[in-house]
Subunit: 216 residues, 2 copies
Amino acid sequence: MTPGVHTTGEGATLARGPGRPRDARAGVAILEAAARVLAAVGPQGFTVDAVAASAGVGKATIYRRWPTRATLLLEAASRLGLELTDPDTGSLRDDLVEHLVALGTKLRTTPSGPMLAGIISEAAVNDEMRPHLRRWVTERRAVAQATVERGVARGELPAGTDVGRLLDLLGGMVFFRFLTNGPAVERPEVEWLVDTVLAGARSAASVPADGSPDPA
Amino acid sequence: MTPGVHTTGEGATLARGPGRPRDARAGVAILEAAARVLAAVGPQGFTVDAVAASAGVGKATIYRRWPTRATLLLEAASRLGLELTDPDTGSLRDDLVEHLVALGTKLRTTPSGPMLAGIISEAAVNDEMRPHLRRWVTERRAVAQATVERGVARGELPAGTDVGRLLDLLGGMVFFRFLTNGPAVERPEVEWLVDTVLAGARSAASVPADGSPDPA
DNA sequence: TCGTTCCGAAACTGTTGCGTTCCGTAAAGA
DNA sequence: TCTTTACGGAACGCAACAGTTTCGGAACGA
């Protein structure tokens, strides 16, 4: 079909065929504009025209790089921050507090918050979106998972602790408050949250649940 | 403007002016169809044409009762079930288990689940939708709130317990799992959840958080 | 210089959906 | 019977949006 094809979103000047090479700055501007639009109006209101206008770019320049609206939307969404860093203070309790404070803050101050809300509703109706949502959640959880497992290894939690459940319990409250527009979970409340759940996890371990291991 | 006006969604035969009275069955059929459509495609895909077709009704008949798509959508959404009943077994632990099992089941088996997901994403972008979402959540929480307060009165939890926080913690995990398409929270896991949180709430009470009282 | 591919901008096509209007018909009161 | 308002159904105007094409012009290799 197209001669010097390079369908990666990356607009680097890699043209092999003849003719004018692609302008790398156009590709960057498009992705930045896509992130702006996505954060402003969410996935449902995300339009290619708006991205083109915001980037100062013709629509053809977008469609030369991304074949459909959906591909551009997904790439912009996957780049939207909420990167969690492992605090590793040596104390499981303090690590979790830092994690959850950062989670709450980033949900409310970065585009990832509205974006997540949009993806969730899209996934509720659109089967195609569900794996993307699941993957996004799982990737963010992996960092915190390592944190908790380290705590278990240090003996701060019983050996048989179900880490996945614990993370859903801790993060669930922060996500729930954010998604339902409740009051922000500030640091003092996070400390209560972590202390309560850790205390419960330690004491409840003596009465093991007979439930399924939950392969999350 | 219109002569025998009765702009309530209710299609009861209350016409005072001359002419043929409104058919009550049409109004009922429209609301039922609206609920079906809403559950099937969510608020974003909710179209008046689809409701009219599903109800076997002309669009004019809909617009005679609801002035805009939004009013019909909100009325249909507000009627979508997820009514929680207070078990009142005499044990706080057992009451909470029943509450949360019912919550998880209804989210996954009634239209209220997809509907909630759609409302959440709409609220993330649309300021007008936020109060409706907040109200919906608060109303559902009221029943569980009474349950926990009864438990506090019985001495099953310390007197100073922040009931709102506790509910967000308990419900948060169930909502989170549902909204992110994680594995269902079945009864054994609910029992672990309740036992863990109650144990934590009892022991953490000795170390009161210095945080804000959180007026939820 | 020539051919090719890029650029931003704009026009265009086709679809979808809101809200309105008109049709022929039905059900009420006067 | 006559007037008024309802009904289902269909058409219409209008706007928004995805994706394509066309335009004049610019940047590369041959």
